[in-house]
């Protein structure tokens, strides 16, 4: 039976056993004759041994077995639980923790426990010290004779070390974000009241509250950050295995592993990245013969680059393979009735490349240089959008493709531009807004049947946000047309709305059924005056 699916479970269960085991050791140092605690420790060592044996982690099994043995000797009252024994068990527990971490990372080999096991086997308590001394086990406990590297001093190190960091459940981290988010919403409400009741005395404490909340938010986010390396560790192996299966030579380079992202985002982005790597190896890169014929080195290169820029992170997956041909992609879209011939003729290069993200554009049954990249790309795009990010594709025929995932650094609490549209107040995440502009009616003209306006020499199509979201159009339109300019996935558009309100930090909550089926909306929030605001996915509108 393939045991690898159980590795994560083994790791988490082992950690639980070891954590309790350590607590019990400390507990026993206070009361060496706590029979129940000895029994429980025995059981934890026994369980760990059994699990490790099933998984065939022999080094873990051997060490846990010796620890179980030692505790068995305490149980049978052959020896008394003493400080030296506690040290030995803690040493064992630390070594086991290290092994579990190695297993978690899929590395090998496990640490060599031979010398520790020997010490455990030959352990005999000093008869004079076998009864626990009443002093706490601290460095100033008295002039005990010990060498610098005695188990005692290691124990000291272990203790002080464990005070510097604690293990926190991920649910706790998620709750901290929620509470911080709710606090931010509450602050908006307070500020709204203060404005309404004209209470200047509240200005100073509110100002301070805002500053503290900013600090709290930053700290909460910081505590959730993990380096990209955390998910990237398994990629080299994945690429290697995929390449081998395809008979290709591929090297994977990862740059910016140390850059940190919110753990929630990392969790959501792992599968999309696996999709992109799989597509790159399976469809993007050519076979060695084809590469040589094209004047390239036989081995292909896939490169993941992570780069941080102010409030977002760009993750780029690039390959030096055959690339994609926008013209042929557009032709295929016509064959599949995704585009009309006229649309295909007018489509921009970038928009043509984005066709691979249209669900059903290609299936795994028809992998080819033209369409093969589409497998799972709609999944990738959706995942990126749900996180409030954007996906862009660049490709050059014969030279390779680049998939750029632009992601926010953290989730849930974002800066947004609030706008009024019909009966709704909407929030646009600021990273999806290129700029806002107040157009005059005379700035708008028609081109090929579409309304456009000129921006820095480019003609940008204009769309009505009210129409897109089925909202009533404003009565008696004035001379000024408030417009949001948004650029996502290489496409740019101006979205006309009724009124631009303000920029605000908001706490985004997921929408429930049935609102979560609206493809234009990604979440909701509540403003200071109690109104519900929907967060808009600009990329679905542009």
């Amino acid at each position: 039976m393939d045991m690898s699916p159980y590795r994560d479970l083994f790791v988490s269960e082992s950690r639980n056993h070891l954590a309790t085991f350590n607590e019990l050791i400390v507990q026993l140092e206070d009361n060496a004759f706590d029979r129940a605690a000895i029994d429980e420790m025995f059981r934890h060592a026994h369980s760990l041994k059994g699990m490790a044996a099933t998984m065939q982690f022999d080094a873990v099994t051997a060490l846990a077995h010796r620890m179980e043995d030692l505790l068995g000797r305490v149980r049978s009252e052959e020896i008394v639980f003493c400080r030296a024994l506690a040290d030995l068990l803690l040493e064992g527990s630390d070594l086991l923790s290290g092994m579990v971490s190695v297993i978690e990372n899929g590395e090998e080999p496990l640490a060599d426990a031979t010398s520790l096991i020997e010490r455990m086997v030959s352990f005999t308590p000093d008869p004079l010290k076998s009864k626990r001394t009443p002093e706490p086990a601290t460095a100033d406990a008295g002039p005990e004779t010990m060498v610098a590297d005695s188990p005692q001093s290691r124990h000291q190190f272990r203790q002080s070390d464990s005070f510097k960091s604690v293990r926190v459940k991920t649910e706790t981290l998620d709750r901290l974000v929620n509470i911080t988010g709710e606090l931010i919403t509450t602050r908006h409400r307070l500020m709204d009241r203060a404005r309404r009741y004209d209470a200047p005395a509240l200005d100073e404490p509110l100002h301070q509250l805002s500053a503290l909340l900013r600090e709290l938010r930053d700290e909460v986010f910081k505590s959730r950050m993990l380096p990209f390396a955390f998910v990237a560790e398994r990629f080299p192996r994945l690429v290697r295995d995929l390449a081998r299966k395809q008979g290709k030579e591929v090297s994977l380079q990862i740059e910016g592993k140390e850059i940190e992202l919110d753990r929630g985002i990392l969790g959501e982005i792992t599968e999309p990245l696996v999709h992109l790597l799989r597509n790159a190896v399976d469809h993007g890169l050519e076979c060695p013969d084809a590469r040589i014929a094209a004047g390239k080195p036989p081995g292909g290169l896939v490169k993941i680059t992570v780069a941080r820029d102010k409030d977002h992170v760009d993750i780029t997956v690039a390959d030096d393979g055959r690339g994609m041909d926008p013209t042929r992609l557009a032709q295929k879209a016509v064959e599949k009735s995704i585009l009309t011939p006229a649309q295909a003729y007018n489509i921009s290069r970038q928009a043509a490349l984005m066709l691979v993200c249209v669900p059903g554009f290609s299936t795994s049954a028809e992998v080819s240089d033209v369409s093969g990249r589409g497998v799972g790309m709609d999944v990738v795009r959706t995942a990126v959008h749900v996180l409030g990010g954007t996906l862009a594709i660049e490709s050059e025929t014969g030279r390779g493709s680049r998939f750029i995932l632009r992601l926010p650094i953290s989730v849930s609490i974002i800066h947004a531009l609030l706008v009024e549209c019909g009966k709704l107040t909407l929030a646009f995440p600021v990273n999806t807004v290129s700029r806002t502009i107040e157009l005059r009616r005379s700035d708008i003209f028609e081109e090929a049947g579409r309304k456009v306006f000129a921006l820095e020499g480019r003609h940008i199509p204009l769309k009505s946000l009210n129409r897109l979201l089925d909202q009533p159009l404003p009565q008696g339109a004035g001379p000024i047309v408030p417009t949001i300019v948004s650029e996502t996935g290489g496409a740019m558009a101006g979205l006309i709305t009724d009124r631009l309100l303000r920029q605000e930090e908001i706490f985004v909550k997921p929408l429930g059924i049935p609102l979560n089926r609206m493809k234009n909306l990604t979440g909701g929030t509540i403003t200071g005056d109690g109104r519900i605001v929907f967060v808009v996915d600009a990329s679905t509108l542009v």
Binding site: Y6, L9, E13, S47, K49, T54
Partner: protein, 120 residues
């Protein structure tokens, strides 16, 4: 109809692996318990054909639990799960009504062999 099985083991890890091993072979896992007390509570409502019982549990002595199971559900066939170091306990368990035992660390073959031995 496939035989119904209840797994009693305090380690979720072990329960998962046992479930994975026997599911493929047409057994239906109808209940899982992480402790002796939970096991007895479940047996109040459930009537599994087979109980796979880890002899070392956090709350009760596995042998005592075995006796209770045999009393409330005499028709259930109990398979003891234990490491060889507990040999005396295994002997006692077989004397007290256990029908088979699976030696830990187990392999899928050992587990299935123990279950098949029940049908003989």
């Amino acid at each position: 109809m496939s035989a119904t099985v209840m797994i009693v083991d305090d380690a979720v890890f072990m329960r998962n692996i046992l479930r994975a091993i026997i599911k493929d072979k047409g057994y239906t896992v109808v209940a899982e318990a992480a402790s002796g007390i939970e096991a007895m509570r479940i047996l109040h409502d459930q009537d599994p054909d087979i109980v796979i019982l880890d002899i070392i549990l956090p709350d009760v002595n596995g042998l005592d639990l075995l006796e209770s199971i045999v009393t409330v559900r005499p028709q259930a066939k109990v398979v003891i799960c234990s490491s060889i170091s507990q040999e005396p306990i295994i002997k006692k368990a077989l004397d007290h009504g256990a029908k088979a035992f699976i030696q830990k660390p187990f392999t899928p073959e050992k587990v299935l062999a123990a279950l098949e031995s029940l049908e003989a």
